[in-house]
């Protein structure tokens, strides 16, 4: 079910912390403790280094591609408390903006749905979340949520752009009236949902279930259903799937996907939102799928080194 089709030797000199493909799945951005961000062209199984971006003064934790309607734009965040926005101009990548408004490590960056414009959410160990909005002419407007998560925000993830009332499709021609939301997870063991009201970001929900740092949150892409789904993973080894069926977004209920034996670092939804990739729990990657009866089952266990995949047996699952 899972087969390695390309192995990219990044030549990073230290740990890799994130690897993200662009919108089309043709370019790969990686970042590392060696303070660099690299971009590779990986079309047709190739691996051509396009750019080696230097500018951070500490380990780079995450990278995020903006939607291509805005051009080729990549955001990166680092332990050096900076967020850098890189842009390709005439075939070369350059720093286009540097945000230094955080007092501690910036752990997560996530671009808003392209429908809202060019907006970047950044979560930092200083507990704050910044929202950077491009206002044109090289200018960025900053909104900051102070003390969003005491002693640190580890992850931010935007909700898909959905217009209230018509969750499936909005009538064309009308000015869409989006409700902007995103989720964040932090060292206070909480997942929080933030909502923009009258231009101000307000805490809408506080989701409590984890007993240790929330390492990552991932809001599932919209597939036309009225249900919102968020996955969260934690230092405590647990992965929760949060769902909310009502349009007002007030009643979230958690379902435990699995309790791993080790830290779960990262969760990622497939584009069709039906598979969740869980990274961690002893440096493994597992794929999970919800069955018809609403139970989550591990469908495979990705062994990258070998290039092969072994389906998890019943026994192994029980062990976990």
């Amino acid at each position: 079910q899972v087969s390695v089709i390309n192995t990219v030797d990044t030549s990073h000199e230290d740990m890799i912390h994130d690897a993200q493909m662009d919108y089309y799945g043709t370019r790969l951005a990686t970042c590392s403790s060696d303070r660099s961000v690299k971009i590779f062209d990986v079309r047709n199984g190739g691996q051509i280094l396009i750019a080696d971006l230097r500018g951070h003064e500490g380990p780079v934790w995450q990278v995020a591609w903006a939607h291509p309607m805005y051009g080729n734009i990549l955001a990166s965040c680092s332990y050096d408390r900076k967020v850098i926005i890189w842009k390709e101009e005439n075939g070369t990548w350059e720093k286009t903006y540097e945000y230094t408004g955080h007092d501690s490590s910036v752990n997560s960056v996530c671009w808003a749905p392209h429908d809202y414009g060019l907006i970047l959410a950044c979560g930092s160990s200083d507990g704050a979340i910044s929202l950077l909005s491009y206002t044109g002419d090289g200018q960025w407007e900053v909104k900051k949520i102070s003390n969003a998560h005491t002693i640190g925000c580890n992850a931010v993830s935007w909700a898909p752009a959905v217009v209230p009332g018509s969750l499936i499709e909005q009538p064309s021609g009308q000015k869409p009236n989006y409700i902007k939301r995103f989720a964040s997870g932090g060292c206070d063991n909480l997942v929080k949902i933030w909502k923009e009201e009258d231009g101000q970001w307000k805490e809408e929900q506080k989701l409590e279930a984890h007993s240790d740092w929330v390492r990552d949150v991932a809001w599932a892409p919209s597939i036309g259903l009225p249900t919102s789904t968020i996955a969260s993973c934690s230092q405590d080894g647990r992965v929760f799937i949060w769902t909310c069926d009502d349009a007002s977004g007030n009643s979230w209920s958690p379902k435990l996907l699995h309790k791993f034996n080790d830290v779960v670092w990262h969760v990622s939804w497939s584009i069709t939102a039906n598979i969740l990739a869980v990274s961690g729990g002893d440096n493994k990657v597992t794929l999970w799928k919800e069955s018809v009866d609403g139970l989550w089952a591990c469908i495979s266990d990705v062994n990258k080194g070998q290039g092969g995949v072994s389906a998890i047996t019943e026994g192994q699952q029980n062990e976990q």
Partner: protein, 1071 residues
């Protein structure tokens, strides 16, 4: 950054790592007196609630203790997981006592909180440590070189690690090794440290600095390296931390000299071995990397000394420090601002001063304006080195096309300095496939489409179908690809012509016998009874009266036979009366058959008889009304029927070839969004579309909204499974739904179809660049956050045909704004295209009356040529329309994008898989010679809403061959005659009759087209035409009678009576 504060002079112990929520226990310190010089003692438990932004820590319980403490630890012994408080609090008291407390009982307020206590030691117990591997083992140290090992399961009798060291001295520190469970170290203020092996029950090594000035206040083992430990010195003359490796015990491995005065306490992070905390009499709290000696962090503190410092085991970024000014502070080493602290002070102020009107002046104090910029000193920077716990070692993220990007960093690499150079840092791209059956079936479908093996595909489906209904559906679909489809449909509905014939054979022979016996002489009675009256009427040629009489007498058969002799008009009137009179079960069917009123059947039959209704329609309905009738029946089934019948409506839609309705009906009947149920639908839809394209010659690209949605869903699914090429072939080609256009673009680019380099990088989206300092329109658009989105959708609402969405070469040279407009203009030019092929209709020489119909039909053959045509959707991509495309150079702006150069590389190849020769184009498609490129359709010509108009046309059967030229004269003459009659006819009834005749003669023309009429009839018709030309209508009527009498009734019944009406009228009107 300071998180919390407790105003206590106390020893502190964090709850074990397993404990959630996190607690901090404090026990009144025996060494330091607080400001009140109170001698009372207490044990308290506080909860660390980080979601509470205030500096206060929530006190959970206080237990008044009889003694003060030198050391307090919280061991995980007998801990249960879960939210309950558990473990054991172990305290070292002033009088040589070791006390075990139950923290759960303290929190619940129980009075019996002591589990056990022993005062075996001499003097205060200053050192305590729990063995990490066997949490029931606790080591304690006190005066006189006393070290005991307590087993919490058997607390009564402690063990010793060996013979007491000499000379006897105080034990100030004790620590279990963190790698080897039977190794213990102890240290004393004299500076000597001893390492014990509990298996051997003796000290194995003694560590001692030669200058003897070490005054050990702290001892800690390396969390990862078994042979290394650090010793801290309290002596102001030697305020150092020594790092020892037992393998080289002659001198310290490293000496950290960051403190300027004696060090009072140290703590080594269990999570990151590069973080060692130390606090000293220089009032500093430092975090150093003992492996390098580098100071990573200096905590901002007040000027007070700290005598105890602890990492929080569960939250690795949190530490607590107890200071001599009677305060325990909880810090985060991750930096952050000190807003919280200041807020607390303000709160305290206002609470001390009462409400905002502290002086009772009737005037509240103005709210305190906190200085927003208090300078850099209020921002507390984090550690210089990122702590290990925030370094993500592994990750997996999905990307477009079901790809998974993964990376991992092997564990060994996380150890400092080991093989870092050799480490390869790989990222893996994997394809994730979860729907194997779905993909396999999709492949089968694509193969069938590519090889055009529809019949065998359908047959396979029939064979494999689990349910009867499914079998049926596929059988119906299969019929579409077979000859003589209507008969086969009947067959499927359970009606066979042959069967009926067989059934009837017997009766038939009987009848002939009867007829034979009737041939005898007969007499003609003219008596007064009914018989007589009829006879009289007959004799006088008064058929009408005769028929009336028969009807009156209920001689239906007679009446009808007579009416036939009396001519068409009489016959139809008689039929009317007959039907009015007869009320048998099948009358309505007969009525419909005779009157050809199938609508009636379809509309009013009992729905349970839908099969029969469909059979009737299949048998009788004319090609042009067939589809509509099937649709109507389907609609009724869907709207009026029960759930079972509703699904059967699908069959009607299949017969009708109505793809859109089939989709709607099927979607309603099927539940769920599972890939396989979508596959079920798409298989049928694709096959039906192929069928409809072959038989009905409709626009192969026309896709309704619902179908488009389903198809794009399907394409998305395929893409998610990595079948991007397949997804492209299924994606509807000419739809203006923005999401589909976007998906197509994404798919194309994901395939890497654009040339590498400049062009490829210019996305079609790139309307919103964010270059530095670019003024003008871009800025304006970016002003509101909504603006870009709007722009984006505008573009999507009127998208160019997909082929134009990536004319990279065109766009790349243009500023974004122009690029947009160029897309529009290209679109306009494409829109003009369908307009000009209408010309060839002039070549048909059709009489004006038919012209309108022809106009309607022709454009369907020439529907918008779409540059990118997928093999699925557009197998009939007319070679004509492509030939017709005007040469590009003449066209301005958008023309280059018509060149195949700009098509994705894969597309032309796919298309050439369908050589024009093999395409089942109807003969009436105008040959290329007729429709040479005409300037009329050149780009730039004014256009209306040509595309929309053409697309809006209903699909209908239009496969009509031209009438052979030698027989065209029949048509022209008859139509001309009817026109003449119409001109001179005065009463509306006649006009209606003539109009009707004009329409019905279409049957004749059809037969002429199909060349199915026998030569005798043809020559007879030509004779009639000659007589018409000579205006000798009587002669014409005679010829007519001759033809009717000599030819097969079934062959001529459709048009000869009509012709007679026309001739009769012409004769009457004398035109």
């Amino acid at each position: 950054m300071k998180l919390k504060e407790i105003d206590r002079t106390a020893m502190q112990a964090w709850s074990p790592a397993q404990q959630h929520p996190i607690y901090l226990a404090t026990g009144t310190s025996a060494q330091q007196l607080d400001a009140t010089f109170s001698t009372s003692a207490s044990l308290e438990i506080f909860e660390l609630d980080l979601s509470d932004p205030s500096l206060d820590m929530k006190s959970c319980a206080t237990f008044s203790s009889s003694c003060r403490y030198h050391k307090l630890i919280w061991g995980p012994h007998s801990m249960t997981s879960g939210e309950t408080v558990s473990g054991v609090l172990i305290a070292g008291g002033e009088n040589g006592n070791v006390i075990l407390y139950d923290p759960a009982k303290i929190i619940t307020g129980d009075t019996e909180v002591i589990i056990a206590q022993k005062d075996k030691h001499t003097g205060p117990v200053r050192a305590l440590d729990v063995n990490m591997f066997q949490t029931n083992l606790v080591a304690s140290g006190a005066n006189e070189s006393e070290i005991y090992i307590w087993d919490l399961n058997n607390f009564a009798t402690p063990m010793t690690p060996g013979v007491k060291t000499q000379p006897l001295e105080d034990i100030s520190c004790i620590a279990w090794n963190r790698q080897v469970q039977h190794i213990l170290a102890s240290a004393s203020p004299s500076g000597r440290a001893t390492v014990w092996d509990l298996r051997k029950n003796e000290p194995i090594i003694k560590v001692s600095d030669h200058n003897n000035r070490m005054h050990c206040s702290g001892l800690a083992w390396h969390p990862d390296v078994a042979t290394q430990m650090v010793l801290a010195s309290e002596d102001d003359r030697l305020p150092v931390i020594q790092m020892w490796d037992l393998r080289f015990a002659s001198s310290p491995l490293r000496v950290l000299e960051s403190h300027t005065r004696g060090i009072l306490a140290i703590a080594w992070s269990m999570v990151d071995s590069e973080l060692l905390l130390s606090c000293g009499k220089d009032a500093k709290i430092l975090c150093s990397n003992p492996n390098t000696g580098e100071v990573l962090y200096e905590l901002p503190t007040n000027t007070q000394w700290c005598f105890d410092i602890q990492w929080c085991p569960r939250n690795p970024a949190v530490l607590s420090a107890a200071s001599f000014d009677g305060r325990i502070s909880v810090y985060s080493i991750m930096g952050g601002s000190t807003d919280g602290l200041r807020q607390k002070q303000v709160d305290q102020l206002s609470s001390s001063f009462g409400n905002l009107d502290p002086f009772g002046m009737g005037q509240p104090l103005p709210p305190l304006q906190l200085p927003q910029q208090t300078g850099p000193q209020c921002i507390i920077l984090p550690l210089k080195k990122p702590p290990k716990w925030i370094r993500r070692p592994v990750g997996a993220s999905f990307s477009f096309g079901g790809k998974l990007v993964t990376f991992e960093n092997s564990k060994s690499q996380q150890q400092p300095g080991i093989e870092q150079q050799q480490q390869r840092h790989h990222v893996y791209l994997s394809q994730v496939v979860t729907e194997e059956e779905f993909l396999a079936r999709s492949n089968q479908l694509q193969e069938a489409v590519q090889s055009e093996g529809f019949v065998s595909y359908c047959q396979k489906k029939i064979d494999m179908a689990p349910a009867d209904f499914e079998k049926n559906v596929w059988a119906f679909l299969k019929v579409h690809f077979e000859e003589d489809s209507r008969v086969k449909y009947l067959d499927l509905l359970g009606y066979r012509k042959d069967d009926l014939r067989k059934k009837r054979v017997k009766d038939h022979t009987q009848e002939t016998e009867d007829l034979g016996s009737a041939k005898k002489t007969f007499n003609i009675s003219v008596s007064g009874d009914v018989d007589g009256l009829i006879t009289q009427a007959l004799l006088t040629g008064n058929f009408e009266s005769a028929v009336d009489l028969c009807l009156h007498d209920n001689r239906m058969a007679d009446a009808i036979i007579l009416a036939i002799a009396g001519g068409q008009e009489l016959l139809s009137r008689t039929q009317e009366k007959y039907f009015a009179k007869m009320q048998s079960k099948i009358t309505r069917l007969i009525t419909a058959v005779v009157k050809k009123n199938w609508k009636e059947i379809v509309q009013s039959c009992d729905l349970q008889n839908w099969r029969e209704a469909l059979a009737a329609v299949l048998t009788y309905a004319r090609p042009d009304e067939f589809a509509a009738l099937c649709d109507r029946l389907g609609n009724r089934l869907e709207s009026e029927g029960d759930s079972l019948l509703q699904t059967q409506a699908c069959l009607c839609y299949i017969c009708a070839g109505n793809v859109e309705k089939l989709v709607a009906c099927w979607t309603k009947a099927q539940d769920g969004n599972s890939p396989l149920s979508l596959q079920d639908l798409i298989e049928k839809v694709v096959i039906l579309r192929k069928a409809v394209q072959i038989t009905q010659d409709v626009d192969p690209n026309a896709v309704g909204a619902l179908l488009a949605e389903k198809m794009s869903q399907y394409a998305s699914l395929l893409a998610a499974q990595g079948s991007i090429a397949a997804a492209l072939t299924f994606l509807p080609v000419n739809t203006n739904q923005p999401n589909i256009t976007l998906l197509r673009d994404r798919l194309c680019r994901a395939q890497g179809e654009l040339p590498v380099g400049q062009e490829a990088l210019k996305a079609p989206y790139e309307r919103q660049p964010m270059p530095k300092g670019q003024a003008g329109p871009v800025v304006g658009q970016m002003q509101g956050p909504q603006a870009p989105a709007q722009q984006y959708y505008q573009q999507g609402d009127n998208p160019p045909p997909p082929g134009f969405i990536m004319p990279g070469a065109v766009n790349s040279n243009m500023p974004p704004q122009q690029a947009t407009s160029s897309n529009y203009s290209m679109y306009s030019q494409a829109g003009t295209r369908p307009a000009y092929p209408q010309r060839p209709q002039n070549g048909w020489n059709d009489p004006p009356a038919l012209n309108r119909a022809a106009k309607k039909k022709v454009p369907d053959n020439f529907l918008p040529p779409v540059p990118i045509t997928s093999p699925i959707m557009n197998p009939l991509a007319d070679p004509q329309s492509q030939i017709q495309q005007p040469p590009a150079p003449a066209a301005p702006l958008g023309a280059p994008s018509f060149q195949p150069l700009h098509l994705p590389a894969g597309q032309p190849v796919l298309q050439s898989g369908y050589p024009p020769a093999s395409q089942p184009l109807g003969p009436c498609v105008v040959p290329p010679t007729v429709s040479k490129p005409s300037t009329e359709g050149a780009p730039g010509a004014p256009i209306g809403n040509a595309i929309q108009h053409v697309q809006a046309l209903p699909t209908e059967k239009i496969t009509k061959k031209p009438i052979p030229e030698e027989h065209l004269i029949l048509k022209t003459t008859f139509e001309a005659l009817i026109q003449r009659c119409l001109l001179s006819a005065s009463d509306p009834q006649t006009k209606r009759k003539l109009d009707d005749a004009n329409k019905r003669l279409e049957f004749l023309y059809d037969k002429l087209r199909e060349q199915t009429l026998s030569p005798t009839i043809i020559s007879g018709l030509h004779n009639i035409v000659k007589s018409i030309e000579m205006r000798n209508y009587q002669e014409g009527l005679n010829i007519h009678t001759h033809i009717v009498s000599t030819s097969n009734f079934s062959e001529t019944s459709a048009f000869m009576p009509v012709l007679k009406v026309v001739l009769t009228q012409a004769n009457k009107l004398g035109v």
